[in-house]
């Protein structure tokens, strides 16, 4: 119960960050972004405490059920944003990250998904597999948010009606750099995480449903990574791919894990 309190607190901080971000955008104030970052930092702290206490109580990296996985994904999103947002001064990314994390945390707390599921004793490779993949989705998630902002900026510049939020949002070039780096980082983490999964499957049994889905996701991101150099795609298409790709992963994650034998989040 105590662990869930920290997750609730993290969701609350993220929600406050989302409110502050919305107010900053609506009021067009210039000083709101630091407050949003502070809320998100507090959310990361609370989320870390949840994962720590949960990990301590189950004696394992907290990726054993859907609630823990969702909380871990929220943590990864916050971590990646706080690195990228401060490095590139893209506080608007935080305005978008906050509601996503808040939604994930509250949904995880409300939904009946916190059912214990002992993991097979496969040692640290299993933890590396789960952790790397969730970090990869964190990077690709923030990349997708940057892609969404890129599409907005691109549309505004094409329409030539430069009013409203256009001046508050980051420059198109900065979003482009962040997207490319997060895509590459996410892809590397995804690849290493999946390779760890393959090594586990060799030792255990092959989970074909999850394998096909994972290969599909990996190919999707491979196409996006190579899109510019090999296929000559324009950045707008890559940004669309990142947004739709991440949405696809999020929308099918639960379903696929339900069908999968090795990844079922059930008793």
């Amino acid at each position: 119960m105590e662990e869930r309190f920290w997750l609730g607190l993290a969701g609350l901080f993220a929600f406050l960050g989302a409110l502050r971000g919305a107010y900053t955008l609506g009021s067009r104030a210039k000083e709101g972004s630091r407050m949003v970052d502070l809320f998100l930092l507090a959310a990361l702290g609370s989320q870390s405490l949840f994962l720590y206490f949960r990990g301590k109580s189950i004696g394992h990296c907290p990726i054993t059920n859907l609630l823990e996985t969702v909380a871990f994904l929220g943590w990864a999103l916050l971590l990646v944003y706080l690195f990228v947002g401060s490095a590139y001064r893209l506080s608007v990314l935080g305005f978008c990250t906050a509601p996503v994390v808040s939604l994930l945390d509250f949904a995880a707390l409300i939904a009946p998904i916190d059912r214990a599921k002992p993991l097979p004793k496969m040692g640290w490779p299993l933890e590396v597999h789960g952790t790397l993949l969730l970090l990869a989705y964190g990077a690709l998630g923030i990349g997708a948010i940057a892609g969404l902002l890129y599409l907005f900026e691109d549309k505004t510049l094409k329409s030539r009606r430069l009013a409203g939020w256009f001046y508050t949002f980051p420059a198109l070039g900065d979003l482009l750099v962040v997207q490319r780096r997060l895509l590459n980082l996410g892809f590397v983490l995804l690849t290493v995480g999946l390779l760890a999964g393959v090594s586990l499957s060799i030792r255990g049994s092959w989970d074909w449903v999850k394998l096909f889905w994972s290969v599909g996701v990996w190919l999707l991101y491979l196409v996006l990574v190579c899109a510019r150099s090999v296929f000559g795609w324009r950045q707008r298409r890559v940004a669309q791919g990142m947004v739709w790709g991440f949405l696809f992963v999020m929308l099918t994650f639960w379903l696929i894990n339900n069908w999968s034998r090795a990844h079922q989040f059930r008793m």
């Binding site: 510049l157 030539r160 430069l162 009013a163 001046y167 420059a171 198109l172």
Partner: protein
């Protein structure tokens, strides 16, 4: 009894022909300020002279003498007789404070929200301060007005969006690429319009400047001043592959950059955005290229429309700005009231309106 007074000539009421005759250069203040103080009977005085205004702010015991003395001061200093009273404004008390705060914040400028006025007022105040022409009243008044203006500028969008074609182009480039340091620009046609934009971009740290002109010598001439590279006209298409911004301002009667010529270049750019600024009339760049992914074309009309829109947006911020200035004005008024009670007799805040 002391009064806060202010007034003078500005672009709203007096024509340029008059303002230019009574403008004061910085080095003239040494002679002008003591004369202003003497003619207007001021105890403290600041004289501001810019291209749009010649104004004073002061503390006096006799507001009527001050009002009458302004025309006398201008005539005796510049020796140019005119019906100065008809072109001048006079303010007292709260109206004077409101005016100064709005002036420093750029709300009274011809181009609303321009920031140059802040530096000009500050320089005028510092000059008067150095000459010991300011005292406790004006020191407090000007310091508070500077703080208020800084707050107005940082918490509203009164300074946001540029209002000239060249600066709008630079701002757009920054919105596209973020930091312009390390970016490259190519200019087609070495005309005045593109030169202005090029200079503005150079000021933002653009690393590579290329100029292609049908007359190669003219390109070389321009590049001597701008420290870039002049290229032959025939090379411009090939070199476009590696540049981020193309500014075109030739006198060609037809498009020099068409969709067909641009498409192969885009293949080689690997998705990097390309910003095209067409300042030419008739246009140099085929408007249909704007629909290509990663290509952003803005012509002279687009830039002018944005500049106008920015100016309207700034005007819409005036109300917010005034609301932000209000607490600073109140704070000064409270301080003035307290001081007035202590010194028995000052009526600096007396609520006279613009005469």
């Amino acid at each position: 009894m002391q009064f806060l007074v202010g007034g003078g000539l500005n672009y709203e009421k007096s024509p340029l022909e008059l303002r230019e005759r009574v403008a004061f250069r910085g080095e003239e203040l040494g002679r002008a300020l003591p004369l202003l103080r003497q003619e207007l009977g001021l105890e403290e005085a600041v004289l501001l002279s810019t291209c749009n205004r010649v104004e004073y702010v002061g503390i006096t015991q006799d507001a009527n003498r001050c009002r009458a003395g302004w025309a006398r001061f201008l005539e005796s200093y510049h020796g140019y007789p005119a019906n100065w009273d008809a072109y001048s404004q006079f303010r007292q008390g709260r109206a004077c404070i409101d005016h100064l705060f709005e002036l420093v914040s750029g709300l009274r400028s011809m181009v609303i929200g321009e920031t140059e006025i802040f530096g000009q007022v500050k320089a005028a105040y510092e000059a008067a301060h150095r000459m010991e022409m300011t005292g406790v009243w004006l020191n407090r008044l000007f310091q508070t007005s500077f703080s208020a203006a800084k707050a107005a500028r940082s918490r509203t969008f009164i300074t946001r969006g540029n209002v000239s074609v060249s600066s709008v182009a630079v701002e757009l480039a920054e919105r596209l690429f973020g930091n312009l340091a390390g970016r490259s620009v190519m200019v087609l046609g070495a005309g005045e319009a593109s030169e202005k934009t090029l200079r503005a971009l150079e000021g933002r740290g653009v690393s590579l400047l290329l100029v292609a002109n049908r007359t190669y010598d003219r390109a070389c001439e321009l590049m001597k001043e701008l420290h870039g590279e002049a290229i032959h006209w025939s090379e411009f298409l090939d070199r476009s592959v590696s540049v981020d911004i193309v500014i075109s301002s030739t006198s060609a009667p037809h498009y020099i950059l068409t969709r067909e010529r641009l498409l192969p270049l885009l293949e080689r750019r690997k998705g990097d955005p390309l910003f095209l600024i067409d300042l030419a009339v008739p246009r140099d760049i085929d408007p249909s290229v704007h629909s290509l992914d990663g290509v952003y074309l803005y012509n002279i009309d687009d830039l002018q429309l944005i500049a106008r829109q920015n100016l309207e947006d700034r005007a819409a911020e005036i109300v917010r700005c005034r609301r932000l200035l209000e607490p600073y004005i109140e704070r000064f008024a409270q301080w003035a009231d307290q001081r007035q009670k202590r010194s028995h007799g000052s009526d600096v805040m007396r609520d006279f309106r613009t005469a």
